[in-house]
Amino acid sequence: MSGFDLTDLTASFGGERVIGPLSLSVKEGEKVALVGRSGAGKSTLIRLVYQQVESMASLVPQDLGLVNSLPVFHNVYMGRLDANATWYNVVTLMRPFAKDSQEVKELLSELEMSEKAWIAAASLSGGQRQRVAIARALYRKSGLLLADEPVSALDGPMAHQIMRLLKERFQTSVIALHDVELALAYCTRIVGIQGGQIALDEPSEKLTPADIMPLY
């Protein structure tokens, strides 16, 4: 099960309502793009959903949440810390097992950064850091992806490559995107957010970029 059905979602900051109350129901297999102006509440909605479905989702937050002083390998490995015993994690921190480093390396090579596996996250560029956070989510191997602008720092071809990969690897996804073309190309359903409410909710094949523009 990787879909969810959430009702009465609300969020307030400093007494001011920023989201909802709204309901969002996502069926297994759906690829949802959240679109809308910055500040419309997309990030907050992603957070809210994550709080509700925590254990079944992989999250790529906007600020990535990398541990800067750890190498790329460990940042990716952290996606599945719950799958191994504590002693195994402790040993891995000092000296990774061949099996894990093989798996992470393969994953990184799909993101075209296999040569960076042993470099500290602090010394990576913005786009590389974003790909590490994506690798961590992929490594988690859950059915549901929650991502907040996962390709904002990547150039055109790379952004397409990553979006393709995310579509392929996650059964269900909810991705906040400001790039309308990417949203239409890689998602099956577009949800437009405006002023903390759902202002648009249509299958993407029924929409053109012009239909989405009024939201911005």
Binding site: N68, L70, M78, L81, D82, R140
Partner: protein, 488 residues
């Protein structure tokens, strides 16, 4: 200018110190102070490295006690930092760090005697309290986001090791290395109460007037501290830590009967021991308060306030010595050497030397505290001032100092000064052991008279006074919005 709370605070503290000067006992009482001082400096420039065979051993023991004490303190402090949120843990840590290393040593000497454990615990216990506080602050500042992103069900230990420690590691290592330097100073002064470290040999060299021997010890001590980054390497650390316990010396064996006696008899207040009841206890405490605690507190506070302002003056005068905005490379290099000497010499040793030269009064203590602490703050502020970019046509000389630099560094200067307030008070109390009438004097006399019950009460009073000043200092720093990293 007067409307600025920072200026007002500075003026109030200066006024308090000036009033304190009227009550303080400031005098040079020795017959030939300048001649003695001259002989001492002659000793420093004609060091004799080979007269005492004990010199090498003393240095080795000083390093060994520092390593074992700091390593133990940092391990315990780390464990305490993990539970530092709990209020009782905070109180406990504040309490153990409010008691000076020398007081701890005096306590342990009463029941462990001259066993190495006395010196190790005297360093490890107060350092645990300090490490716990600083480590927990570093851990708290770490970004909580990576921890939140971990899959639910990740074990607590894995979460801690992956999401917390890595980003704190460098800061914790830097602070621990810095503490090691403090540990060397603490270890050296433990010799003054009879442990086999540098202070012991320094005291005997001085009392016999062997100034060249004393000079050699001081020079070696400076070299030891200045070369710390060269011989303390991360890879060698395990070797040092595992090896150090074997170089603490034999000492004397622990007599366990003494330990039992200390806790069941010595420190029990005498009216309770003699079954005089609570009335007797009241008289006993009242007597202790009026005749020892009150004069001790009075002198400690006066001396602290004068030393605090004197520290500030020295720091403000000293920072241009190393600032890149003044003078050439020659002056800056000699400035660096001068400040390294000031901050590497423990105030206790400085005070001891000055006391030998000038005779007993508060003056040697004030000068020692001001030079040591002023050297530390001057170094920090000087380094900070070098990072300030001045406009190309900025004024030079005194105008540059007063208009461009002092206003820019004054906030952090005050932050450091108020941070060190509690440290200065802790040191002031301990200088009483040298014969100045602060709290340490009364503690030491009580111990000399084998009145451990009184000594313990006085140590508790000293600790409370330190905690009080610490809270007040933090309150003022918060009120004036001053921030700083810890120094020792």
């Amino acid at each position: 200018m007067l409307s600025s709370p920072i200026v007002r605070t500075s003026l109030i503290f200066t006024a308090i110190a000036l009033v304190g000067l009227f009550f303080a006992d400031i005098a040079i009482t020795s017959a030939n102070p300048w001649k003695d001082l001259g002989r001492f400096f002659f000793g420093i420039i004609t060091p004799d490295f080979f007269s005492t065979e004990g010199l090498a051993t003393a240095l080795l023991r000083t390093v060994a006690f520092a390593f074992v004490g700091v390593a133990l303190g940092s391990a315990c402090g780390f464990l305490l930092a993990l539970v530092y949120r709990a209020y009782p843990v905070r109180i406990f840590c504040a309490f153990i760090r409010a008691i000076h290393e020398l007081f701890w040593a005096l306590i342990f000497l009463q029941f462990f005697g001259f066993h190495p454990l006395t010196g190790v615990l005297a360093i490890a216990i107060p350092y645990s309290g300090i490490f716990a506080k600083v480590y927990s602050e570093i851990l708290e500042e770490a970004d909580p986001e990576p921890g939140r992103l971990l899959p639910p069900g990740t074990s607590v230990i894995s979460t801690f090791l992956y999401a917390r420690i890595p980003d704190c590691w460098v800061q914790m290592r830097t602070y621990t290395a810095y503490r090691l330097e403090c540990g060397l100073r603490s270890s050296a002064i433990l010799g003054f109460v009879g442990l086999p470290t540098l202070g012991f040999y320094l005291e005997s060299a001085f009392s016999q007037g062997h100034y060249s021997d004393a000079g050699a010890m001081l020079i070696l001590f400076y070299v030891l501290i200045a070369t710390l980054p060269l011989w303390v390497k991360p890879k060698l650390l395990p070797v040092y830590i595992l090896g150090a316990p074997f170089f603490l010396g034999e000492g004397l064996p622990i007599v366990w009967g003494n330990v039992t006696r200390f806790f069941t008899q010595d420190i029990v207040p005498s009216p309770l021991k003699n079954e005089e009841g609570w009335a007797g206890m009241g008289t006993w405490l009242g007597d202790l308060f009026i005749n020892q605690a009150m004069p001790g507190i009075w002198n400690t506070v006066i001396l602290t306030q004068i030393a605090l302002v004197a520290t500030g003056i020295i720091a403000l005068l000293a920072f241009p010595l190393i600032s890149t905005h003044f003078g050439g490379p020659v002056r800056r290099t000699s400035g660096h050497v001068f400040l390294v000497i000031l901050r590497s010499t423990p105030e206790y040793i400085l005070a001891y030397i000055l006391l030998q030269l000038w005779g007993p009064s508060m003056l040697p203590a004030v000068v020692a505290l001001a030079l040591h602490n002023g050297g530390i703050i001057g170094h920090l502020i000087g380094r900070q001032s070098s990072s300030i970019q001045l406009r190309p046509d900025a004024p030079k000389g005194v105008n540059r100092y007063t208009y461009e630099l002092v206003p820019r560094v004054y906030r952090s200067f005050l932050a450091f000064l108020f941070y060190r307030w509690e440290i200065i008070m802790r040191e002031t109390a301990i200088l009483g052991i040298l014969g100045i009438y602060t709290l340490g004097f009364y503690v030491d006399s009580a111990i000399q008279n084998i009145q451990f019950d009184k000594a313990m009460v006085l140590i508790l009073i000293t600790a409370s006074l330190n905690i009080g000043v610490d809270i007040l200092g933090r309150f003022i720093r918060k009120k004036l919005a001053l921030q700083t990293m810890p120094t020792c």
